[in-house]
């Protein structure tokens, strides 16, 4: 039976969509926007540090307070609102296609995940307009995050991330179930492309890491808004507890980010080297091992906290263990391109440059894992250099490789290769110019998170150089944005522009809303490549042509997230003194908070009570589309 379904257009289409490809684009748009915001913040940081002092002997650009705010929002935005969503965008765009599925397991929750992330991010950034910006670093250490030392900005941090975190958790569960239950016939686990594998492991890490952050953030909020005592030493609380909770989440978080990046590299290299991935099963094994070890090493962020020699030694050794599976990966990548017929497209440039850059970040990571050495490096620019090598040199370079690689599939248009190469050289050289010298700044004693420094300590030139590099990177990003804008009118993308190996290249670009007219039959690793080598142009179908069932669009996820957003404000300002008595009583009596939660719960109720029967795309329609 065919149910008629409302189809929306324009803005309503985007707000109500449950199509994973559109949600992927939403993640790209929002994540890209936050990346630009975080990038502008980075430029301001670097501008400020370009010169230690102005002519009058005062700070020349930013006050200490403003610097702390910009630095905090830069880190928080980049991690939670730029890198995470861009990765989720890629997973949405690619994973269902790579496993030969028509959709994700929970289309409705997929949309909910996006909207909670989005509203959490908006809430966090509204702090710029209320003038109470988080200024506690992205790590929000106690007691700095308590009421004694920070204001409403810390509430924006705790509640904004809380809401955004719900979306991440929901997304993680969605991808786990999608990959376990929705694979096409013949797509066994050990035939899954590596990007899917890494997305799978990353989703597992999300599932076990994010709840810890949720609890930690609740504690901060309870301490601040309801006078609880979790991290308040005077009433028996323990501020080191926050460090443990944060890093039990925080270290796995960096692997949540890097594993899909590894996955993307493992797709791009074989395609442009025209060789299969070297050591596929060892890659899978290394990914799983890294996922497991990522939970065992959190205290390497706390060597200087005073945990004692034995704990420090154990966590140091555990950390170094991660270098083994990571090393396996690096050698596998090298052997993949070794002797291949390499085509240096923009995607390939980004992917190959990723390898040495990421290795440099990994090497400084092992250096930091040596506790006595870390006592020297800790909280110095050496650390800033290290994590930007893994984050920008690792995650961002591979994300850019992935963007150039999958863009045709997502948008149906080609990006311009000349502009692409310009962007690569600007970004890549700018990156090393900015961050390489920061290793030395750190070794020369410059501490992290300072807004100024005394001149003539040997740091001036290095800081100047570093800032110049940041402008090269900014130029690279601008060229990418121009490329994106031009591509709207650019050449149409063929189904398989790169001579690809995996299933997503066997269907049109952009893929139709149902992805696969007939589910494909998978005969091995690199499923599409196998068929091409047999002289075929398409996958062999695993089922006859039939009507396809689709989920209906829904506005509920949007309103559920909006409810949480409103409730967030209700809680944040419950103790605040407003001028108007009416507003005071609305917030003070938790009426706003309850109203917001009520919106969310009513939406949940509606979702539970009204079954979604979806609709069918009939065979005639499928045939009409060719």
């Amino acid at each position: 039976m065919a149910h008629s379904v409302k189809k929306y257009r324009g803005l309503m289409d985007w707000i109500t969509t449950v199509d994973h490809k559109k949600i992927g684009i939403l993640y790209f748009a929002a994540g890209g926007l936050f990346f630009v915001i975080g990038g502008i913040e980075a430029l301001l940081i670097r501008l400020q540090l370009m010169f230690p002092l102005g002519a009058d002997g005062e700070s020349w650009l930013l006050s200490g307070q403003t610097y702390n705010e910009i630095m905090t929002m830069h880190g928080t935005t980049m991690i939670f609102l730029a890198a995470m969503p861009l990765i989720f965008g890629l997973m949405n765009a690619v994973v269902p296609l790579q496993i030969g599925a028509r959709d994700v397991a929970f289309p409705f929750l997929n949309s909910l995940g996006f909207w909670t992330f989005f509203f959490g991010g908006v809430l966090l950034n509204i702090s710029w307009f209320t003038g109470t910006v988080p200024d506690i670093g992205w790590t929000a250490y106690a007691p700095l995050s308590g009421t004694e030392f920070s204001g409403t900005g810390s509430d924006y941090y705790a509640i904004g991330l809380q809401i955004a975190g719900i979306g991440t958790l929901v997304g993680g569960i969605n991808f786990l179930v999608t990959i376990i239950n929705m694979r096409a016939p013949g797509m066994t686990f050990m035939r899954m492309p590596l990007f899917t594998w890494t997305s799978f492991i990353t989703s597992g890490i999300i599932l076990f890491a994010f709840p810890a952050l949720a609890v930690g953030l609740i504690y901060i909020s309870f301490d601040r808004l309801f006078d609880a005592n979790f991290f308040v030493t005077a009433t028996g609380g323990n501020s080191v507890l926050w460090e443990h909770i944060f890093w039990i989440f925080g270290h796995p978080e960096v692997y949540i980010l890097i594993l899909p990046a590894f996955g993307a590299i493992s797709e791009v290299l074989p395609t442009f080297a025209r060789k299969r991935l070297f050591g596929y099963s060892s890659m899978v094994f290394a990914t799983a091992l890294i996922g497991f070890l990522s939970f065992m090493v959190w205290a390497h962020h706390m060597f200087t906290t005073g945990m004692g020699d034995i704990a420090n030694a154990l966590f140091g050794v555990a950390t170094m263990l991660i270098a083994i599976p990571t090393g396996i990966k690096v050698f596998n990548w090298l052997f993949t391109i070794w002797g291949g017929k390499i085509r240096f497209t923009t995607a390939m440039l980004y992917a190959t440059s990723f390898i040495p850059t990421f290795v440099m970040g990994g090497v400084t990571g092992v250096m930091l894992a040596i506790p006595p050495a870390d006592f020297q490096f800790h909280d110095s620019y050496f650390v800033v250099a290290h994590f930007h090598y893994v984050i920008v040199g690792g995650i961002v370079l591979s994300l850019l490789a992935a963007v150039f690689y999958w863009w045709p599939k997502m948008f149906g248009r080609m990006l311009n290769e000349t502009l692409g190469k310009w962007s690569f050289w600007l970004f890549f050289s700018g990156f090393h110019l900015t961050f390489f010298i920061q290793h030395f700044l750190g070794l020369w004693g410059m501490p992290r998170r300072v807004f100024t420094y005394l001149p003539n300590q040997g740091w001036d030139t290095a800081n100047f150089v570093s800032t110049i590099g940041a402008f090269f990177m900014a130029a690279g990003v601008i060229v990418i944005l121009i490329n994106v804008i031009i591509s709207i009118k650019g050449p149409k993308a063929p189904a398989d522009p790169w001579d690809g190996r995996t299933l997503e290249w066997s269907i049109p670009s952009p893929s139709p809303e149902y992805n696969f007219k007939q589910l494909p039959l998978v005969r091995g690793l690199d499923a599409f490549w196998l068929e091409k080598m047999d002289g075929k142009k398409e996958m062999t179908p695993a089922e006859p042509l039939g009507p396809i069932h689709m989920p209906s669009p829904s506005i509920l996820p949007f309103f559920m997230s909006l409810g949480l957003f409103i409730a967030g404000f209700g809680f944040m300002y419950r103790g605040y003194e407003f001028d108007s008595a009416l507003i005071n009583s609305l917030f003070g009596n938790d009426i706003i908070a309850i109203l917001g939660l009520a919106i969310t719960f009513v939406c949940m109720f509606l979702r539970s009570v009204y079954d979604d029967h979806g609709y069918h795309i009939e065979v005639e329609e499928l045939q009409k589309e060719g």
């Binding site: 397991a105 929970f106 958790l169 569960i173 969605n174 786990l176 179930v177 376990i180 239950n181 929705m182 599932l207 076990f208 890491a209 994010f210 709840p211 810890a212 949720a214 609890v215 930690g216 609740i218 504690y219 309870f222 309801f226 006078d227 609880a228 005592n229 979790f230 308040v232 009433t235 028996g236 609380g237 323990n238 507890l241 909770i245 039990i248 109720f605 539970s608 009570v609 079954d611």
Partner: protein, 205 residues
């Protein structure tokens, strides 16, 4: 044979796993419970770290009344059993019994909540409020989170009974019943740990 019964006969033996949506829901819910385990694990770890910081407030040994808690435990564990009966009734396609057993489960859950609210009320009177000490904050966070889960479960299963009444048992409602019972068991398991770690260990000192 009435129309409804004929429809029930066509239902497969395990209706919760009959459709892909159903299987997705069950698997997704298992994974969600994995995340919940970490959530409660963090709450437990915090409680263990802070349980000694009682300051001027009463200690666990002074506060806890094991008789009341044992009664609450008994009620909650029984409700786990009745939720099993509900799922069994579902597999026998006996919608009436299914609704009855779910109803009993809800009632028992509600009884547990009444005891817990009474208990908290009593503690506050004894000078053990949420803001008294790090011990009290972590106590209320852990036990209160569990209580909130029970309250949510009561509302959820209550809503499911109404849905069963209106829509009957089918491949959409069956997975809902099944995951609700998973949720309920999970809450029970958490309570067993709370009983041991908070109350028994607290009584020992």
């Amino acid at each position: 044979m009435s129309h409804a019964e004929a429809h029930l006969d066509k239902l497969p033996p395990e209706p919760e796993k009959a459709t892909l949506e159903g299987r997705n829901k069950v698997l997704g819910f298992w994974l969600f419970l994995g995340g919940e385990t970490v959530l409660f694990g963090t709450l437990f770890a915090t409680f263990l770290a802070l349980r000694g910081s009682v300051l001027d407030g009463p200690t666990g040994t002074e506060l806890f009344d094991l008789k009341l808690v044992a009664a609450a435990t008994f009620i909650l564990l029984t409700s786990s059993l009745t939720s099993v009966f509900a799922v069994q009734a579902m597999h026998h396609k006996n919608v009436k019994n299914l609704m009855i057993w779910l109803g009993v489960t809800v009632l028992l859950g509600f009884g547990f909540l009444v005891l817990e609210i009474y208990e908290f009320y009593h503690y506050v009177h004894e000078g053990h409020g949420f803001t008294t000490s790090a011990f009290s904050s972590s106590f209320y966070a852990l036990v209160g989170f569990h209580g909130a889960h029970v309250a949510l479960g009561v509302l959820w299963i209550g809503l499911l009974i109404i849905q069963l009444k209106v829509k009957g048992l089918n491949t959409t409602t069956a997975p809902k019943v099944y995951v609700a019972s998973l949720y309920w068991h999970f809450i029970d398991v958490v309570w067993v740990f709370i009983f041991t770690i908070v109350y028994l260990m607290g009584k020992v000192g």
